[in-house]
């Protein structure tokens, strides 16, 4: 027998900014809405009119809708109800909330990806203010943070979130699932202003190619011109072995990330704070990414309470060559950003080297010397990289040489 009652969303004493909807489609008697909400006095009427508009959109005239609301925003209520509807009827229709103008931005290949904040894809309460914390990227996760039975409704919620939440300029990323489900996930996010897709548990170029193909078909269908970048995540020994091949699989790949929880599990070892067990994998991944001219990105640090350990972790990560790290709590963002940014000593030293190089060039000297030390070209190149980074981060003026006091210049 065909299912006639559907449940979507979440409720309970700890749930906020979400709702649980029980939908029963009837054969007659019109629409009954039973609303329990802590914002009933303020939004009761608007919730009811949203429900009735959405059901009309899907051609449902007779139904009983029970809503247990804990202050869900309209796009959340709409997502929950659409999920319930789609459990009961088969339809290609999508009830799309307005696409925020403020969110219609695209990103570039070489932008900073120091910090990217993971948000569970079925927990709207964590998404609403996520953009305020100045992460370089926001990841709406459809994979490991979503329970298997909630995967379908998370897609619709993430789709609506991409259209409705102002992420204040953060790169909008979605981590899709593995395999067929992952390819299907793309249909819920590509047409809705996503900037980058994280592809989990990559072990070969093959799946990347499938993802790339699916994306270009969707883009063609919706006539989308802007880039959707890819960031494969390497999370196994096989993935590490194939990391260069993966890094080169598509020109849309801008970064390669490592996931150490799964990697250490694959090796059967314990993940430690020092990280000796993953040293090879991390170094190998950095080299592969560099060789493919993309950004190497480190794994998340899971102790959200220990900011000092995080700081140490970031310094190690930076010293290995990584250019960014995942975050699972907004408080980790400033620590990570600061860690990957060049510090004042590095900037000052680099300024001296670059200045010595420029002076030598002006004087037509072939050899660059700083004090009694000869400076090799790679040293200059590294210093120039740090200067460029400092300028892009706003730590140094673009005209810093001209702005130097005269005797230094």
């Amino acid at each position: 027998m065909k299912k006639s009652i559907a449940i979507a969303g979440n409720s309970g004493p700890k749930v906020r900014s979400d709702c649980e909807i029980v939908l029963e489609i009837k054969s007659d008697s019109g629409l009954t809405i039973d609303l329990t909400s802590k914002v009933r006095v303020l939004y009761g009427e608007s919730i009811k009119s949203l429900v009735s508009e959405l059901l009309t959109f899907f051609g449902i005239k007779n139904a009983v809708v029970k809503i247990d609301d804990s202050g869900a925003l309209p796009f959340v209520i709409a997502a929950r109800l659409e999920s319930a509807v789609k459990q009961l009827i088969s339809t290609d229709l999508e009830y799309l909330p307005e696409l925020l103008k403020e969110n219609s931005y695209y990103t570039t290949r070489d932008r900073f990806r120091f910090s990217r904040l993971y948000l569970p894809g079925n927990t709207p309460g964590l998404m609403i203010n996520a953009g305020l914390h100045s992460a370089d990227g926001i990841i709406l996760d459809l994979e490991d943070s979503v329970a298997p039975e909630k995967k379908d409704e998370a897609r619709i919620l993430v789709r609506n979130a991409l259209r409705q939440i102002n992420f204040y300029g953060a790169e909008k990323m979605v981590r899709i699932n593995q395999g067929r489900r992952g390819l299907d996930d793309l249909h819920f996010v590509i047409p809705h202003n996503v900037n980058l897709i994280l592809v989990p548990k990559c072990e070969s170029a093959d799946f990347i190619l499938q993802v790339d193909k699916e994306i270009s078909e969707i883009k063609k269908k919706f006539n989308l011109k802007e880039h959707v970048f890819l960031m494969p995540i390497i999370e196994s020994a096989l993935g590490v072995e194939h990391s260069f091949e993966i890094a080169c699989a598509s020109e849309n790949i801008v970064a390669l990330a490592i996931g150490l929880e799964d990697y250490t599990a694959d090796l059967g070892v314990t993940r430690t704070v020092e990280g000796n067990e993953s040293f090879y994998a991390r170094t190998r991944l950095v080299v592969a990414a560099r060789a493919a001219n993309i950004q190497p990105i480190d794994s998340v640090f899971s102790d959200v309470a220990d900011m000092e350990a995080l700081k140490q972790n970031v310094l190690i990560s930076k010293s290995l060559g990584f250019e960014g790290m995942g975050c699972i709590h907004p408080r980790q963002i400033p620590v990570i950003r600061q860690g990957f940014s060049p510090d004042q000593t590095e900037i000052e030293k680099s300024k001296k080297i670059v200045l010595a190089f420029e002076t030598a060039k002006l004087k037509g000297l072939g050899v660059v010397a700083l004090g009694s030390k000869m400076i090799d070209p790679p040293v200059v190149a590294r210093a120039q990289k740090i200067i460029d980074l400092a300028v892009r981060l706003g730590l140094l003026s673009v005209n810093w040489i001209d702005e130097l006091p005269h005797d230094e210049n």
């Binding site: 009933r40 939004y43 925003l73 203010n129 305020l132 914390h133 102002n166």
Partner: protein, 519 residues
């Protein structure tokens, strides 16, 4: 019966009479200056009291009888035992069995533990509450179920009302963690220690009769004495005056919400950049999670700069105690303590001093501590486009909080409200506050996670942060952003009936709460 109302100086429609007694509508900040003399309680005589100083009687019931408990009396209690108080409810339970009717409960605040009093409001033992009403009690009042009209006052307004004779306390029943048989009492010691008894001072000085209830009777003299025994009529010894773990929280914690931490961080930056935070600053912040986080950030700034706050005004928490102990704060002046670290500190640290609300908050006195504070961190349930604040009702119209010291604290030099732009889906910035508790002219800065709004009256503050990169916005811009996210809320519907009056610090009526229209 329709009540006669007038429009007060804040533009609110308020009655001229509450509970059968004439009241004065709000005239504007600092405009109401009463003449006359303070109220005085009856003159007692030593010969009516035992020469050996032993005022202990057998039970609370006996003490109440000896005080002449009868219909219509006003009973006061203090809230230092917070949610662990076992005494307030006991008074009305006894009064109910004695068949007493139409009493007025005049607490310095109420807590969820007082919800059982609804039973005595229902059976007519209590006519009304004049004090704070939270949770179910607030709901009860909002739904128009209380016989009399509630009167909400600030901590200072309560002292003012007692001193000016607006409220005449017949019997003050004062729970004391430690007392001697003469009635000298304090807030420390014993198993129900609450730290200080600052809110009980006006009660014992002005009440007709005073009963001290303790579970820790010590030999005379109980020292240091916060309640002086020569104001006390009877002492009652019981097994337990309170539930210790509910009197003070074992530990207060800063917020873990990243959004609240963001607000706290922004607030600390604002304080630093504007120059309000400086060496020698006087600070008050509450015990809410965001305020505690602000205290931690402020502490760090003081430390980094080598500055010291000359004093902080409590309610104290371990975060303030840490500033005192690490040398970034000269004194803590305290009217109440919130956690065990603070109880310990006030017992042991001579620079952590009990300080009564009398000195801090009473507007009808010769100066208040609050106007000398440089930084005042407060909250609000709503703020409107004119910077007016509401702390007693929520946007849905229900009475849910007391005023506490909020109105009194508005007199500080810089009043800063760090608040989220919306709570769940409920916008905090509105066109007009549901209930007016504090006039906008006294509220200087609103700090939300999406920007900072400075009152246009404070051009000096606006200038001080110009070009700093702080996200400055107008309240209108913030309100529009919240409504874009949450939707434009409907307004709650009210009946004509007035269920509660909101007093300003000078005893005038600044606003009223009307009965909720239930569908």
């Amino acid at each position: 019966m329709p009540v006669k109302t007038v429009i007060n100086a804040a533009g609110r429609s308020v009655p001229l009479e509450i509970n059968g007694k004439p009241v004065i509508p709000f005239k504007g900040v600092g405009m109401h200056k009463p003449d006359g003399r303070k109220y005085s309680p009856p003159i007692p005589t030593c010969s009516d009291y035992p020469d050996d100083g032993n005022k202990v009687v057998g039970s609370l019931e006996e003490a109440l009888r000896k005080c002449g408990l009868c219909d219509g009396m006003t009973i006061s209690t203090h809230h230092h035992l917070r949610d662990g108080d076992l005494i307030s409810n006991k008074v009305f339970e006894l009064a109910s069995t004695m068949g007493i009717k139409d009493m007025v409960w005049f607490p310095s605040a109420s807590f969820p533990c007082n919800d059982p009093l609804i039973k005595y409001l229902d059976d007519g033992t209590i006519n009304r509450i004049e004090g704070s009403m939270n949770g179910p009690l607030g709901r009860y009042v909002s739904e128009g179920r209380m016989k009399g009209t509630a009167v909400l006052r600030s901590h200072g307004g309560r002292v003012q009302a007692i001193q000016d004779g607006e409220v005449r306390i017949d019997i003050a029943v004062l729970a004391a963690p430690t007392s001697d048989a003469f009635g000298n009492a304090r807030g420390t010691g014993g198993s129900s220690a609450c730290g200080v008894l600052g809110y009980a001072k006006a009660d014992y000085m002005y009440a007709g009769k005073v009963i001290v209830v303790t579970d820790n009777l010590v030999d005379l003299p109980c020292f240091p004495m916060e309640i002086e025994g020569n104001y006390v009529d009877y002492v009652v010894v019981v097994d337990k005056i309170g539930i210790p773990e509910k009197i003070v929280s074992g530990t207060t914690q800063i917020t873990r919400s990243p959004d609240r931490l963001l607000i706290a961080e922004l607030t600390a930056s604002f304080l630093e950049i504007s120059g309000i935070l400086k060496d020698g600053v006087a600070i008050q912040a509450g015990a809410g999670g965001t305020s505690l986080a602000i205290a931690v950030f402020v502490h760090q700034i003081l430390k980094n700069k080598g500055w010291k706050s000359k004093f902080g005004f409590g309610g104290s928490t371990k975060y303030m105690v840490r500033m005192l102990e690490e040398g970034q704060m000269g004194f803590i002046l305290d009217a109440q303590v919130f956690d065990l670290d603070s109880v310990k500190s006030i017992e042991n640290n001579p620079n952590h001093v009990p300080y009564s609300v009398f000195n801090a908050y009473n507007y009808h006195s010769k100066g208040n501590l609050t106007s000398m504070m440089d930084i005042m961190i407060l909250g609000a349930t709503e703020v409107d486009l004119n910077f007016n604040g509401n702390v007693v009702t929520h946007s849905d119209g229900y009475l849910l909080h007391g005023i506490g010291g909020w109105q009194n604290c508005l007199h500080a030099r810089n009043v800063i409200l760090p608040i989220p732009l919306f709570r769940d889906r409920i916008p905090v910035i509105v066109d007009e506050v549901t209930t007016l508790c504090g006039p906008g002219e006294l509220i200087d800065v609103i700090i939300t996670e999406r920007g900072i709004a400075i009152n246009p009256l404070r051009q000096d503050l606006i200038d001080s942060v110009k070009g700093s990169g702080l996200p400055l916005r107008t309240l209108k811009e913030l309100k529009d952003e919240a409504e874009k996210i949450c939707g434009v809320p409907q307004k709650p519907q009210f009946e004509e009936d007035i269920v509660a009056a909101i007093k300003w610090v000078d005893g005038t009526v600044i606003d009223v709460v009307r009965k909720i229209k239930t569908v």
